[in-house]
């Protein structure tokens, strides 16, 4: 891996990106920070309140509930979607037109606008006119709008339906990139399918899986549209995610101070988490290709020269 050149003029190439992202991220965030630290009653009526709003947010029971709720939701999502995604990826055809067709079919849930995902499931889960609702109702009482477990379950199933393909596609690509030789060697070694999965596939999928886990955790922690469309956060607040709550506070109630503090803490939590993950990810970017010591190189060269000399000697003697 040849090295990159050190060149600070590269910053010019990066400036447009920095500018755009600054515009779309930093400036808004500054505004958010602004709100979080001041009690704004009117255009000319601002009072610096320090960390007051932050304290309120940290102690607000609604927010705390939403936080634990979201964590639980994310955990369950990971536990379901990661294994399921891997399972599906291993089933997918590996080559030929079937592989292309499979890719398209698997990828479709991912390109549906999120509100349409919500809408689709809203129709689908109606106990009276929806296919899913009617089917489930045959076995047990299903009422999305009144039963909290039903609502929660529906969100889980819908999110799984929507996002497992992401895990599947990532894992599929990861599997395709494993050189045939590993499978061949395993065949020669007499390894069972389980052993191949455990010792060849899973280790090679490590990086891909970490990305999948990171993405799914983040996205599920920020979930808004799908649950909003299907249940509106209800019944009550049983499916109210952090984002739904935040949006209600910010846009609905226009409670700028609380919204501001909430936003920053929310964002901060995600940043910290990403940072940890990213560091762990890039730690083993290049698994230590052991350095060859100059001594070893010399020894090898000497050995080679010795043999060459002796063979030359043999030639002369011929």
């Amino acid at each position: 891996m040849d090295g990159k050149k050190k060149n600070n003029r590269a910053w010019f190439l990066v400036l447009p990106v920095v500018f755009v992202v600054a515009f779309t991220a930093i400036i808004p965030l500054m505004a958010v920070a602004n709100y979080s630290l001041q009690d704004i009653q009117g255009a000319s009526n601002r009072l610096f309140v320090g960390l007051d709003f932050f304290k309120r947010v940290a102690t607000d029971p609604n927010i705390q509930d939403a936080f634990t709720r979201n964590l639980t939701l994310s955990a369950q999502i990971l536990l379901i979607q990661i294994p399921l995604g891997i399972f599906l990826a291993r089933l997918m055809p590996r080559s030929g037109w079937k592989a292309s067709a499979a890719l398209v079919v698997v990828a479709i849930p991912l390109i549906i606008p999120w509100n349409v995902v919500g809408t689709t499931w809203r129709i689908f889960t109606r106990s009276d006119i929806g296919l899913g609702g009617v089917l489930v109702n045959q076995f047990f009482d299903y009422n999305l709008s009144e039963d909290t477990t039903d609502a929660w379950g529906t969100i889980l199933v819908m999110d799984t339906w929507h996002w497992t393909p992401l895990v599947t596609l990532l894992v599929y690509a990861g599997l395709r990139s494993i050189p045939q030789a590993y499978y061949q060697a395993a065949a020669i070694d007499g390894a069972s399918r389980m052993a191949v999965f455990r010792f060849v596939e899973l280790p090679k999928l490590r990086r891909v899986l970490m990305i999948a886990i990171l993405l799914r955790f983040m996205d599920s922690f920020m979930m808004y549209t799908e649950p909003f469309v299907v249940t509106g956060g209800g019944p009550g607040s049983s499916t109210q995610t952090l984002s739904i709550l935040l949006t209600t506070i910010a846009i609905g109630q226009f409670d700028l101070g609380v919204a501001g503090a909430f936003s920053l803490m929310y964002f901060l939590f995600i940043q910290i988490f990403s940072f940890i993950f990213f560091t762990v990810l890039t730690l083993d970017e290049r698994p230590g290709a052991t350095k060859v010591t100059p001594k070893e190189k010399k020894a090898a060269k000497l050995e080679q020269q010795a043999e060459k000399a002796s063979s030359k000697l043999k030639k002369v003697q011929k």
Binding site: P179, A181, Y182, Q184, A185, A187, I188, D189, G190, A191, S192, A195, F199, V200, P203, P287, G288, A289, T290, V292, E296, K297, A300, K301, E303, Q304, E307
Partner: protein
């Protein structure tokens, strides 16, 4: 320790439209080292995979030790294969890597440990047994890969698929040497695939040259060098390869653009042919053909003299003592046993002796 026999083995990846491997029938004897040499796409890897059982040939049969193994799966064939890059189980230590093939075959634990230690000693990696393979140098990693093959006592043959490809330049040579010594120590049949003629010629007892799916010539490195039976062998082996020239034969007299080049030993040869002579056997002579010297490359132990005559160019490989001026005229001739004439199928037809008259 095994005899591998192929009967009419051929393979097509597209159902018969094109053949990656044309029908081949041959026997590989116990304990010898064979090299499959040829450029990429010549079918050598296909052939290797057929022998190892990773690929089922579309035609023909494979026999190992007299047993028809054409339909037998790889892990029942008692072969081991080393690939282009070290193939190791990263999550296991070297020891566990070596134990793996035995454990899969339900070998008793005591025997496993004994065997692993034995092989580790043979390979010289005892001290690395409890390390993770990713921490080893690439050539040692290949040794461990090989070890996984050797650890099974019933291994009949070891197949190498260009094993030096990713090895650090400084260690290619030592690894090759080690592999050769291991072959001598274990006495297994070895089939070694490569596109590097030096590897093939130094490693193998017998070299099989392949081109475009066919076996072109098999023989010792000497015979391939001195008596190339096929144009491809003349071209591929040797550095630089053989000099070729289109000639017309008329009653075995070979001419190029009317000028005599030589006389074929076989009588009654007529028609379009190709003349070939290796640079090593184009020697300065008082008689022979007259060339103009275009360029002289001093390579230390030898010199490469670039010659031109009329509309063609030859290269001669001379001693370092050869002295001549660029642009001057020089006469070169060739040994009658070392020049060949090839027919339009690229097959050698006869040797060629120089024309008696001094050519011009």
């Amino acid at each position: 320790m095994a005899e591998i026999r192929l009967e009419g083995v051929a393979h097509s990846y597209d159902g018969g439209k094109t053949y990656a491997l044309n029908p081949i029938t041959m026997t590989w004897k116990d304990g010898k080292a064979y090299a499959l040499l040829g450029p990429s796409g010549c079918g050598k890897t296909t052939l290797l995979n057929i022998i190892s059982g990773l690929l089922k040939p579309s035609e023909g049969k494979v026999f190992i030790d007299g047993k028809d193994v054409t339909d037998v799966v790889t892990d029942d064939r008692n072969i081991a294969q080393v690939f282009q890059f070290p193939v190791l189980y990263d999550t296991m230590t070297v020891r566990k890597n070596l134990e793996f093939p035995l454990k899969n075959r339900k070998v008793p634990r005591a025997k496993v440990a004994e065997r692993v230690n034995e092989i580790a000693a043979l390979l010289g990696i005892e001290k690395d047994l409890d390390r993770k393979p990713s921490k080893l140098r690439s050539d040692l990693q290949q040794i461990v890969s090989l070890g996984r093959g050797l650890v099974r006592e019933d291994v009949s043959a070891i197949l190498f698929d260009e094993p030096l490809t990713v090895i650090d330049q400084n260690f290619k040579w030592t690894l090759r040497n080690r592999l050769k010594r291991l072959h001598l120590a274990t006495g297994v049949t070895v089939v070694y695939v490569t596109h590097d003629q030096t590897e093939a010629l130094t490693f193998a007892d017998e070299v099989l040259v392949m081109d475009q799916g066919s076996l072109v010539q098999a023989g010792t490195s000497e015979s391939l060098f001195l008596e190339p039976q096929h144009e491809f062998v003349g071209y591929f082996i040797g550095s630089p390869g053989m000099n070729f020239l289109d000639v017309e034969a008329s009653s075995s007299v070979l001419t190029h653009n009317g000028k005599p080049i030589g006389k074929a030993a076989k009588a009654g040869l007529n028609g379009s042919h190709r003349f070939g002579v290796r640079p090593e056997f184009l020697v300065p002579s008082k008689s022979g053909l007259e060339f103009k010297i275009d360029r002289i490359e001093d390579r230390g132990v030898f010199k490469l003299v670039h010659l031109s005559k009329d509309d063609f160019k030859f290269i001669a490989k001379t001693e370092e003592s050869y002295d001549a001026k660029v642009g001057a005229k020089a006469n070169f001739s060739f040994d009658a046993k070392r020049a060949f004439v090839y027919d339009m199928n690229k097959k050698a037809v006869s040797t060629v002796s120089p024309s008696s008259a001094g050519g011009n």
